[in-house]
Symmetry: D2
Subunit: 360 residues, 4 copies
C-alpha cells in the first residue's frame, strides 16, 4: 500500500500531472490527467503548494469511510496555494496572476442552508478532492465564489493550510474566548492550531490533551499552559485542580475519541461550551443527563468554516502577528516528496506537512 | 405502595399537616411536622394550591434516582401557590398577605455559576422538596430571593404550575422561534406547555410526538400542527415530508427516551437547535459525527429556568392571553385528594393535576 | 406635478410599457421602453402586481433625496409580483412560468460585507428602481440570486409587498420578542406590519404611536394594544403607566421623526432594544448619556432584510396563518390606476396600495 | 479650590480619617468621620490603596453634574483595595483578614433589571462615593454581594483600579474581538485599558485617538497599532487607509467628545459595533440615517460592568499575563498625597494614580 512511483507518463498538451485514486483499493498513483476546464464563473489555479490532510490519508488507506464516499478515479487534495492561470468570462474577483487559495466546501447557493447564510452547511455541498477533482495536481478549478485572494504578506506555505487553520479558527471562535479557560482534546494539526488561536484570542488558560508526546510538544509550543498525556496523566483531576474546581469554560473536541468525550464533559464548568470538530468513527455513549442537561452545557457541532467570515478573521490574526502557526508546520518538502509526506504523516511524528512546487 | 391514609395526627401549636417521605421505601405519609422557622431573609408561605411533578412520583415510588438523592424524612413538593404568612426582618420584596409562588432552585449566590448570572446552574443548588423541606404542607419557607409575587390576574391554579411552565418557557425560548418550525418530543405536561409557548411565540409549525394518545390530544389542543404517535406513525418521514425535506429548525426533547433522541436529530435542519430538558434514565448512544457535527447542530442542556427572566416572560405571555395553559391542567382536585392525584398522575390519563386548599 | 397621462405610445416588438422618471423634475410619465435584456444568471419577470413605496413617492415628488440619488431616465418600482418569462443559461433556481418576487438589494457578493454574510449591507449595493431599472413596467430583470420563488398559497397581492413586510420582519425579529413589551413609533405600512409581526411572535404588549388616526386604526387592527396619537395623548406617561413603570423591552422606530426618537428612549426599560428603520430627514439631537449609555440601551440600525433568512421566516409566518397583513392593504387597484394610487398614497388615507395587472 | 490641608483632627475611638465633600462648593476636606456601621450582610473593609477617578474630579471641582447629583457631606471614592476588618453575622463569602475590593454599583436585587440579570443597570442603583459614603477613608462598608475577593497574585495597586479596568473589559468584550479591527476614541485610563484588553483578546489592529500626546503614548505602550492625534492627524482617512477602505469592525467611544462621535461612525464598517462608555456632557447631533441605519450599526450603551462575569474575565486576563496594565498606572503615591494626586490628575500629565497606605 503506497503511492505508486511508477515511471511518470508524459504530459502532453491539455494534460497535467496529478496524484490519483485510480481504483477502489489502497494507494495513490501519479497519472497524466486532462487539465480541468473553466466554466463561466470558474477560476483555474496553478498549484504552487499543497498540504496533506487526515482526509487524504483515509482516501490513501481506503478505509470504510473512503470506500463509502469516494468514487474513483479521483484526484484528492483540498489544501493548496496557487496562482490564477485563467478565469471564466464572468469572473470579477480575481485575474490571471493573482495568488490565491480557496474554500473547499463547494456550495450550491440556493438551498435552505445557503440562502440563510449557512453555506458551510449546504445541503448539496461538494468537498474539493472528495466529491470533485482536487488539488493534488498541476491545476485545480474552483468557482469564483470559493476563491480567497491572498495578502502578499501571507506565504505560500501558510496559505496552503488555510483550510485546516480555518477549522481551528471556526471552532475556537464559536463562542467567547477572552478571559476564559479551555481544554483542547486532540493535538493533531487542527488541535494545535486551535490552541494557538485560543491563546491569541485572550484565552486565559488552555489545557491540551493527547497521547502522542510529539503532538503534545507542538501544543505546548503553540501556547498550551497544561499539556496532558492521557496515557500518563489523570486528565480530569489535573484540570479541575488547575481551575480551582470550576472546570473550563470551553472544551474543544479535536480528536474524535470516546475518552475525550468522557473526560471533556467532566471538566466542563456549568453553562460551558463544547465545540465538536473531531469525527468519532462510531456512535458514542453519552450520559446526556449528567453531562449535558444538568451542566447546562452548550454543545456545538462544528463543520467547515464560515464563508468567509472565518477567513477574514484568520487572515487578520495571521497578519497581526498574534497567531504564529509555524511550529505546527514541521516539514516543508519538495514537489516530488508526496510519498515521503504520506509516510511521515502516517508515522505520527509530524505536525503539518507542506509540499512546495519550487522545491521540486 | 400508596400514600398512607392513616388517621391524621392532631395539629398542635407550632405544628402543621404535611405529606412526608418518612423512610427509605415506597409511599408517602401524612404527618404532623413542625412549622418551619423563618430566617432573617426568609418568607413563610401558607400553601393554597399545589401540583404534582414527575419528580414527586419518583420520590413516591422510591426508584433508583430517589434512593440515591433523597434523605428521609423529607416533605416533597415544589409546585405551589400560597400567601405570605410571615417574613424575616430583612425582607423587603413582599409582606404578609401577598400572594406568591417561588423558584425552586435555591441558589447560593456566591459560586462561579451564580456570580456570573447562571443561578439556575448554581454549584450548590438545593431543590425545594428534594434537598430541603418542600411545599406539600400547610407552610413552606423559601428565601426572599426565590419568591415570585403574583399578579392578581394569575389564578392560584395557574400559579401552582409556574415551575414546570417555566421549564417549558425556558426550553422553548432558548433560541429564535418566530417563523420557524419545531418538533417537540414528549407530550407530558411540560411538553404540552412547550407546544403552547412555541405557538404563542410565532412558531410557524409544530410537530408533537408521544406514544400516549391522551397526551397527544392535549398537545393538539395546545396548538400542535402535527401530532405523531411513535407507535403508529413514521415520525421521521412524516416530519420531513411536512417540511419539504428541510426538517425542523428546532427540536425540543421533553421525553428522555432514546428513540426521541434518534428521531429528533434525523428531522433536524442543518444548523438547527436541539434543546434538551427530558432526563434520560441512562446513557444514550449518539452518532455524534452524523447527527451533531455534520449537521452543525446546536445542542443545549436546559435546566430550571432563568431567574427571573423566564418568569417575567412567562407572566407576560399568560397575562397577554397569548398563552392559555388551561387544557393541560386536566384536574383540579381538593386538598384531601393527594392520594387520588398521585394515582391519576401515575395512570398516564392526566395532564397536570392541581390541588386547591379551598376545595378541601 | 402628476403622473402624466398623455396618450400612450405604441408598444412595438422588443418594447414594453413602463412608468418612468424621464427628467430631473417632479412627476412620472408612461413611456415605451426597451424590454430589458437577460444576462447569463439573470431572470426576466413579467410583472403581475406592484405596490407603491414611500421611496417611490420621493422619486415622484423629486425631493432633495431623490434629486441627489436618482439619475433619469429611470423606471422606479421595487415592490412586485410576477411570472418568470425567461432565464439566462446558467440559472437553475427557477424556470419559465414560476411565480416569483425578489429581494431588491442587488448585492455584489464579493465585498467585505457580502463575504461575511451581510449582503443586505453590501458596499456596492444597487437598489432596484433607484439605482437600476425597476418594476413599474411590463418586465423587470433581476439576478437569480435575488429571486424568491413563491409558495402557491401566497397571493399576488401579498407577494407584491414582501419587500416592506420583510423590513418589518427584520426589524421586529432583530431581538427576542416573545413575552416582552414593545412600542412601535410610526404606523405607516411597515409600522403596521411590524405590529402584526410582533404580536404573531409572542409580544405580550404593543403600543403603537402616530399622529394619523387612519394609520392608528390600522395598527389597532393589526393587534396594537395601546394606540397613541402624539397630537392628543401623553405618549411617555401612557406607556410608563401601562408597563408598571418598567417601560418597554423594545422600541421600533418606523417614523424617522425627531419626536419619536425623544419619546422612544424615554419609555425604554434599562437594557432594552431600539431598532431603527425609519429614516430621519436630517441629523437629530440625542442625549446619548441619558438615553443610551445610562440605560444600557442596544440601538440597532436596520436596513433591508436578511437575504434570505428574513424571507423564510416571513413566508412561514404568513403560511402558518399567524400573521395576517390583509388589514394594511387598504386598496387593490387595477393596472391603469397608477396615478390614482399615487394620489391616494400621498393623501395619508391609505395603508398599502397594490395594483394588479388582471384588474386592468 | 483645593483639597484643604488644614491641621488634621484627632481620630478618636469609633472615628476615622476621611476625605469629604463637606459643602456644596469646590474642594475636598480631610475630616474625622464616624466609622461606618456593619449591617447583617455587610462587610467593613480597611482601605489599603485607593485610586482617583474622573468622577472624583467632577466632585472636587463641583461642576454642574456634581452639583445636581451629590448631597454633601459625602465621602467620595469608589476605587480601592482593602482588608476585611469585620463582617455582619450573615456574611459567608469572606472573613476578617481577606484581601478584597468591590463592585461599586450597589444594586437592589429586586427590580426589573436586577431580577433579569442586569444588576449593573439596577433601577435603584447607588454608586459608592456618589450616592453613599465612599472609600476615601480608613474604612468603607459595602454589602457582601458587592465584595470581590482578591487572588493573592493581584497586587494592591492593580486591585485598586479594578472598577475602571472592569469598565474597559466590559466595553471591549461587548462583542467579538479576535481577528477584528478597532478604533478607540479617548485615551484616558479607561481608553488605554481598553486598548490593552482588545489586544490581549486578539484584536488584529487598534487605532487609538486622543488630543493629549501623553495619553497617546500610554495607548501606544498598551499596544495601539496606530495612535492618532485629532489635533494633528486626519483621523478618518488614516483609519480608512489602514483598513483598506473597510473601516473598523468595532469602535469604542471613551471620550464623550462630539468629534469622536462624528469620526467614529465615519470609520465604522457596515454592520460594525459601536460601544459607548464615555459620557458626553450635552446632547449630540447625530446623522442617524447615514451613520447608524444605512451602516447597519449596532450601538451599545455601556454602563458599569457585568456583576461578576466581567470581574472573572478581568481577573483571568490579569493572572494569565495576557493583560499588563502597569504602563497606565503612571504614579503610585503615598497615603498623604491625595492633594498631589488630584493636581496631577487634573494636569492631564498622568495616567492612573494610586495611593498606598503603606507608603504614607
Amino acid at each position: 500500500m503506497a503511492v505508486q512511483t511508477v515511471k511518470e507518463p508524459q504530459v502532453t498538451q491539455g494534460t497535467m500531472w496529478a496524484i490519483e485514486k485510480s481504483a477502489p483499493e489502497p494507494g495513490l498513483k501519479r497519472v497524466t490527467a486532462p487539465i480541468p476546464k473553466v466554466g463561466p464563473r470558474d477560476v483555474r489555479i496553478r498549484v504552487t503548494a499543497l498540504a496533506i490532510c487526515g482526509t487524504d490519508l483515509h482516501i490513501f488507506e481506503w478505509d470504510r469511510w473512503a470506500a463509502s464516499r469516494i468514487r474513483p478515479p479521483l484526484i484528492p487534495g483540498h489544501e493548496f496555494t496557487g496562482v490564477v492561470e485563467s478565469v471564466g468570462p464572468e469572473v470579477t474577483l480575481v485575474k490571471t496572476g493573482d495568488r490565491v487559495t480557496g474554500e473547499t466546501h463547494l456550495y450550491c447557493g440556493l438551498c435552505y442552508s445557503c440562502r440563510r447564510g449557512l453555506a458551510h452547511l449546504c445541503r448539496n455541498v461538494q468537498i474539493l478532492g472528495v466529491d470533485r477533482q482536487g488539488a493534488f495536481a498541476d491545476y485545480v478549478v474552483i468557482p469564483e465564489q470559493n476563491v480567497w485572494k491572498l495578502d502578499p504578506r501571507i506565504s505560500d506555505v501558510i496559505a496552503a493550510v488555510h483550510d485546516p487553520l480555518g477549522n481551528a479558527v471556526h471552532t475556537a471562535l464559536a463562542g467567547p474566548v477572552a478571559g476564559l479557560r479551555f481544554a483542547v482534546f486532540g493535538c493533531g494539526p487542527i488541535g494545535c492550531f486551535a490552541v494557538g488561536v485560543l491563546k491569541a484570542s485572550g484565552a486565559a488558560w488552555v489545557a491540551a490533551i493527547d497521547k502522542n508526546p510529539v503532538r503534545l510538544e507542538l501544543a505546548e509550543r503553540m501556547g498550551a499552559d497544561l499539556p496532558l498525556n492521557v496515557e500518563r496523566d489523570a486528565v480530569v483531576s489535573a484540570i479541575l485542580d488547575a481551575t480551582g474546581g470550576d472546570g473550563v469554560d470551553g472544551m474543544l473536541e479535536m480528536s474524535g475519541s470516546a475518552g475525550a468525550f468522557q473526560d471533556g464533559f467532566e471538566v466542563l464548568a456549568n453553562g460551558g461550551r463544547v465545540s465538536l470538530l473531531g469525527i468519532p468513527s462510531k456512535p458514542l455513549e453519552i450520559d446526556v443527563a449528567k453531562e449535558i442537561i444538568f451542566r447546562g452545557a452548550n454543545v456545538q457541532g462544528i463543520n467547515g468554516r464560515w464563508i468567509f467570515d472565518t477567513w477574514y478573521r484568520m487572515q487578520a490574526l495571521l497578519l497581526s502577528g498574534k497567531l504564529d502557526i509555524a511550529p505546527v508546520i514541521t516539514h516543508v518538502l519538495g514537489w516530488d516528496d508526496f510519498e515521503k509526506a504520506v509516510e511521515l504523516q502516517r508515522s505520527g511524528k509530524a505536525g503539518k506537512i507542506v509540499l512546495r512546487r519550487d522545491r521540486a
